[in-house]
Symmetry: C2
Subunit: 425 residues, 2 copies
Amino acid sequence: MKALNVQLLMTGNELLSGDIVDSNSAMIAQALKELGIEIKRKVTVSDDIELIAQEIKNISQQADILIINGGLGPTVDDMTAQAIALASDKPLTEHPQALQHIKAWCKKRKSELNSAGLKQTLLPDGCSIIANSVGSAVGMQLTHNNCEIYSTPGVPKELKVMLNEEIVPSLAKKVPSEMKLEVTRLQVYGVGESSLQTLIDDEFPDWPDELELGFRATIPLLEVKLTSRTSTAKALKIHWLEKLKSLLGDHIINEISSRPINLAEQVLTLLREKNQQITTAESCTGGLIASLLTEIPGSSQSFEAGFVTYSNTIKSEILEVEPSIIAQHGAVSEATVLAMAKGALAKAHADIVIAVSGIAGPGGATPDKPVGTVWMAWGSSNKIFSHCFHLNGGRIYIQQHVAAIGLDLIRRLLINSEEQANYLK
Amino acid sequence: MKALNVQLLMTGNELLSGDIVDSNSAMIAQALKELGIEIKRKVTVSDDIELIAQEIKNISQQADILIINGGLGPTVDDMTAQAIALASDKPLTEHPQALQHIKAWCKKRKSELNSAGLKQTLLPDGCSIIANSVGSAVGMQLTHNNCEIYSTPGVPKELKVMLNEEIVPSLAKKVPSEMKLEVTRLQVYGVGESSLQTLIDDEFPDWPDELELGFRATIPLLEVKLTSRTSTAKALKIHWLEKLKSLLGDHIINEISSRPINLAEQVLTLLREKNQQITTAESCTGGLIASLLTEIPGSSQSFEAGFVTYSNTIKSEILEVEPSIIAQHGAVSEATVLAMAKGALAKAHADIVIAVSGIAGPGGATPDKPVGTVWMAWGSSNKIFSHCFHLNGGRIYIQQHVAAIGLDLIRRLLINSEEQANYLK
């Protein structure tokens, strides 16, 4: 079967001026991809009625489906309805359902229906409307030159609702069910994309063509995507997903069912399950690990105290690190980071600790401790582990990388993992 | 004078699949805007040589300038050079300067020049190259159908360098100097966009048309932009910029000359100038303020210790807040946050402190303290100020808003400001 020719027409001066980045087209592409529909071409033009009409004429002659985004609002630069009317040589007429929608919208918001609002009810003759449950402007649907045209609002929230509630269900009917895609997404950490690709090539030389394997870097996590057509045998999918999962082991943070999660959220979930408390003792990450944990709602249940101890004096005074340890081994050392971890555990009355001392740069390096040298200690009062990492990159990159590693070390501790992670590849 | 017709052609499957958001075209638009050049139209297509060649043919017939982005790399999906050759009916030949570039590139990285690398030296006959100081692929420049075509790499870092070093200077020659734009940018905080617009309308009813005033929200800061043509009288610009600056007063963080700065950076600059130390005592922001400060290189000079004290016990044990104060007034209260500030100052031996205790939600609200109730205390051992803010929004939004307000309060303290900020509009 021939693939549908689907094109996008994005309108708006702000998309061409660089004042905003166009994320709407990515939202449309992602929604359509689940149906197995790929976008062939996208054209972006400014709020110029002649230009918009010209593109609609051109695209409708090539494409099966055209999705227009933007230009449905009440102001003078909103001119998609007029442009469609011009391109398809149809008059603008007041659409009864659009009028009904805007009246109800104004009533709900206790505002007057003015002439700007009434402009939104003038639509190309013969079009049907696409409901908008969260905004004043309805969308339009019509056929021109055998091309199905959908016109959608530029406000991302409104576009999202219209895509999910109206357009995707409508397009789904045009795609044979065996063409549709089923996607399984795993969030992993502790293995790099290229090592993982090599590992899979080596372990699974007979990986079936029907299952497309993809990777997407969602820093710091890696998303592993298994995509197949609905027509692919279910048994085949289950079999290879299991093999993939067993290969990935404890690198898997989460299988995305409803929404992706992050490392801090997973750590807090595990802590809650065990009814345990965590504390942080941070030098070079400067509160970033504490901040990532406390971003998560309900974190106060498992996090009572965190310490940012930059100077040596403070490490000694607040975390009771013996000054002689720092004097002998330096602030960035195994002995110091272990003492920081012990001190924080005691001061915070916590069960679990992560302590970090390192050189995030650009200053602070010594010949034997270059920028990126980071000692971490993590564990419980039973046992505290420690390791020295050597990272590359700028200050913020190093801080973020260290924070992610720290959270993942805690996650692996909490699931009693004995597998080895490789955080540097 | 007629404006130049400038169009963009963006190539890459990932731009149409929604896996990445296209920020390169915004970068190009912003760079060209400084020259007074607007982009008229943008077309995005997948890595399909026929499609790319077709678009090049079409656009080169309409436009004065075409900037192509993407497809210059060594892999098989990189096919811009072939597409230009196809569209312009020119053979691909080995370009001596491109060969020289890739040889030097490989030598510097101690890697072998392989066939994939050699592919990058095969360029359309007669084109000139655009130097790439940070990547393996050179850009191309040629004229076809009287249209000047620039071909640029998809890697943002490489695009940026090529724009700044080669393309903008080259295009600048095509634009008459009186058409060029001069932009002055002020970073402000403590006054909202709509209040500022009203204030300017009221105060400056005779604001001249030749000076365009624009706003850009760069959360948390607001960027105020004053744009004029080079031909506008210099005296006029200086006069109104001074009036604007005097209206904005201490809301101004920075006038952007080379690069924007953030609140934490400005606070640290002021602290260094005064040779003072800051400490943080955070409850609902959970280390975010400390983390924003320590993101900045050299922060260790002015920041030795920060405290994240979530629970009441920890507030008492670590910051020596009297348990009776918390019992009587609650953790989110003026008395508690003042005691936290005093405790942190003493423990950290610091000169300046910011302390925060509030309810970031979604849990933790009480009838008289809804989500968004945040007490802040800031000052020095001489005088500690306090204020209760009532914020709206989700947890992370509230945390980020509180952190920005906290840093701005410190900034105003350090410049001895007596002006009033309005953080909630």
